[in-house]
Amino acid sequence: MEYSVRIGGEAGQGIQTISSILGKVLVRTGFHVFTHQDYMSRIRGGHNFTQIRFADRPIACSRRQVDILIALDQQTVDVHRGDLAPDGLVIHDSETIGRKYDRPEFIDVPARRLAMETAGKRLMENTVAAGAASGMLRLELAPLEKLLSQTFAGKGQEAVDGNIAAARAGYDFVLNNCPRCAFTPATSEPPARRMLIDGNSAVGMGALLSGCRFYAAYPMTPSTGVLNFMAGQSRRHSLVVEQAEDEISAINMAIGASYAGVRSMTGTAGGGFALMVEGLSLAGMTETPVVIFVGQRPAPATGLPTRTEQGDLLYVLNAAHGEFPRVVMAPGSPEQAFYLTGKAFELAEKYQVPAVILSDTYLADAGWTLDGLDAARIEYRDHRLRADALERLERYQRHAFTESGVSPLAEPGASRHLVVTDSDEHDEDGHIIEDAATRIKMVDKRLRKKLPLIRAEMEPPRLYGEERPEIVLAGWGSNYGVLKEAVDELRERHSIAMLHWSEIWPLPATDRYDYLAVLRRARRTICIENNAGSQFARLLRSETGFQFSNRVNRFDGRPFLLEDMLQEVGKIIG
């Protein structure tokens, strides 16, 4: 069993309110929910929508076909009507959208009138709509009422009562006026306690649990959610969040904070990352741990600011002058985002390198249902030398040559030892030098010794489906969910599997799991990416020589929906 609800309207009409209420209620009722957003870059007007798909089993992507369309404006009807399932329904308020539809699939819910009648506030028409959708789905009212009282508790009893009354009005209205509502979503499971979490919040939670104490950023979609999340946390935890004057400042601040002795992070999108690139190189040269969140969106330049793309992979891998190791993680779900943020912090500090978490708009905003996140699985070890352990050292050199290439990282000011580092090539003490011998030894230490150690820490791609597949759907980052569900759909008829990379760089070795052998054995290997240039395919080819037999690319700024994916893959495998 599964249904999809799409809510469309102009920016500022409250799409977000309806969808977050509905999403949470469905999770609390016991369903698995997947939400995704499609927004324009404007504050008012335009056309935006949110989609909520829910099922009685775990789900990982959005579908094109919708069962209930909640149209807050005329445009939503025009744009999305074609996606309606054969027995799908459209909820609208003919008074708001200014048009009556004389067709059985159109349910006219007088949301505005009901909001005025019950709560005296037009604004609550969104709550009426959420109530109406719950009624159509024959959900119980109790979870909705509980959620509304929790959500509006901060705004006083009047707001709570008004919202509950508005929700009930919508709910009752459809029970009495929608004879066609035949949705039977009843779940047999007893409602489990599950989470609904989006990619950006998962990154933020991962950072918080990794001991991130300093976050500096300049707002840019789709990374702003991480800034907002961290700023919210800074009121309750020992965390300083600073909005920098630009991204150049943001990364230099993060590096300064790390030098001073705390775990630090910055976040941006491709354009802002371009400004950070010199700072990335600085982190490489000074061997300062720093974590950089990069949310991809369609580019070049400003591109499509609120839409999604995987166009910055090779850029993030190659950005910055000079040679130094870096870590690049590309999580495919909020769950992966949480754990890989933890791993990014751990590797950044253990090896004193910059680590990038490469996400995109789709993952940033998509909400996934999880059984939970295990904080204990995020390793937290303080790799810095502090206080007594530092004071006891006879001698301290920030960039001392060692077997592993990793020098001791000390907190400045915590002992009599000086902590000196330089963006110029430097000696073991951290002082500027120009001699060739030291230069060679420093490059060996920074790059050649550390790189294989970091590579050994990287997990190979995840195989899902047939163990020895004839067809491989390959991908990275946010395509994880849709590839997984595509495999589920195609498994009955094909020997097929997904190979998904979320730990991208250094490219994982094949000794623990020979993913190259899986690829070489397969009859068809299809690399699926949200970009025009098949960047991952190019990376794998340049690193391993392996060439995919087919490529699927989407670069219209929209994510792959399940039907699109099946259609594209179908064209290739028949």
Binding site: I197, S201, R236, H237, G256, A260, G261
Partner: protein
């Protein structure tokens, strides 16, 4: 108690006779005068001749990128507000490449001391015009002379209502040392613009040129009088005032950020995983 010798660092690689030598001397003497130990302070510098200073003394050092001293220094101070943090930069470094950071550092009023070695030229890159170069100055990159109005950092700082604005001169070493100590003792962001000749590339602003113009501001000047400060700040020609030009004490950023205001420095606050974990609840 540390002495000046404790701040002796590597042999400077500046041109013999460079104004930077006096600045370095004043710096070491001022730090000793303040009773600081080398490990108790952090110096952040950028790239340029000026920015090599931390290597020539003893201190915790972050010698970062050209123009980026202030963001690094700001963050260090936010993480450890028990440690004095000094940013050392050149005029190109701070007013050109890092101009935006300069503006916002003044707004933030983080307790960082900014010492700008202002030789009115790009020294390290061999003599191009800097933002403070005078009009008409001929260089290899400006063969027709500088066509732009010079930037007046001191006037800009007064206009920005910066907390502490002073100008020093490398040729008046003891007064410079005094100004450095004053800036260090001040509670808040302090700009100390330090005029000094680049004897190799700047043929216009020589020792003699400065000597004829630079004077110490009289004791009767009230640095809290913004209008008087602005008048002094605009004086840059036949006469060039040095000393504390403007002072506007107000709460520093560290005193306002709730997590650290009146508390232990961030770096010494305990991190509680258990508390962080409770935040997962909100997603259920």
């Amino acid at each position: 108690m540390a002495e000046t010798v404790d701040f002796e660092g590597q042999q400077p690689a500046w041109c013999p006779g460079c104004g930077n030598f006096n600045i370095l001397k004043s710096f070491k003497a001022a730090m000793a005068e303040l009773g600081l130990q080398p490990h108790e302070l952090v110096v952040v510098s950028g790239i340029g001749q000026a920015s090599k200073l931390p290597h020539y003394t003893m201190c915790n050092t972050f010698n970062g990128l050209h123009g980026r001293t202030l963001p690094v220094a700001t963050a260090i101070r936010l993480v450890n507000h028990d440690m004095p943090v000094i940013a050392v930069a050149g005029d190109g470094d701070c007013y050109g490449e890092g101009g935006n950071h300069f503006l916002h550092a003044m707004r933030r009023n983080v307790n960082v001391k900014l010492f700008v070695h202002d030789n009115q030229i790009y020294g390290l890159t061999k003599g191009q015009a800097s933002p403070t170069s005078g009009r008409g100055m001929v260089t290899t990159a400006q063969p027709a002379g500088v066509l732009l109005e010079p930037l007046n950092p001191v006037a800009l700082a007064v206009a920005m209502d910066a907390a502490f604005v002073a100008r020093g001169y490398a040729g008046d070493r003891l007064f410079l040392q005094e100004l450095m100590a004053k800036a260090m003792r001040f509670r808040g962001f302090a700009l100390l613009d330090i005029l000094h000749p680049c004897i190799t590339f700047n043929r216009l602003n020589t020792y003699r040129w400065y000597q004829e113009r630079v004077y110490r501001i009289s004791d009767s000047h009230d640095p809290s009088d913004r209008e008087a400060a602005f008048r002094l700040a605009l004086e840059f020609g036949d006469r060039i005032p040095t000393g504390v030009i403007y002072r506007n004490e107000r709460p520093t950023l560290e005193e306002l950020v709730p997590v650290i205001a009146g508390k232990d420095p961030l770096v010494h606050q305990p991190f509680s995983r258990a508390e962080a974990e409770t935040e997962l609840k909100r997603f259920y």
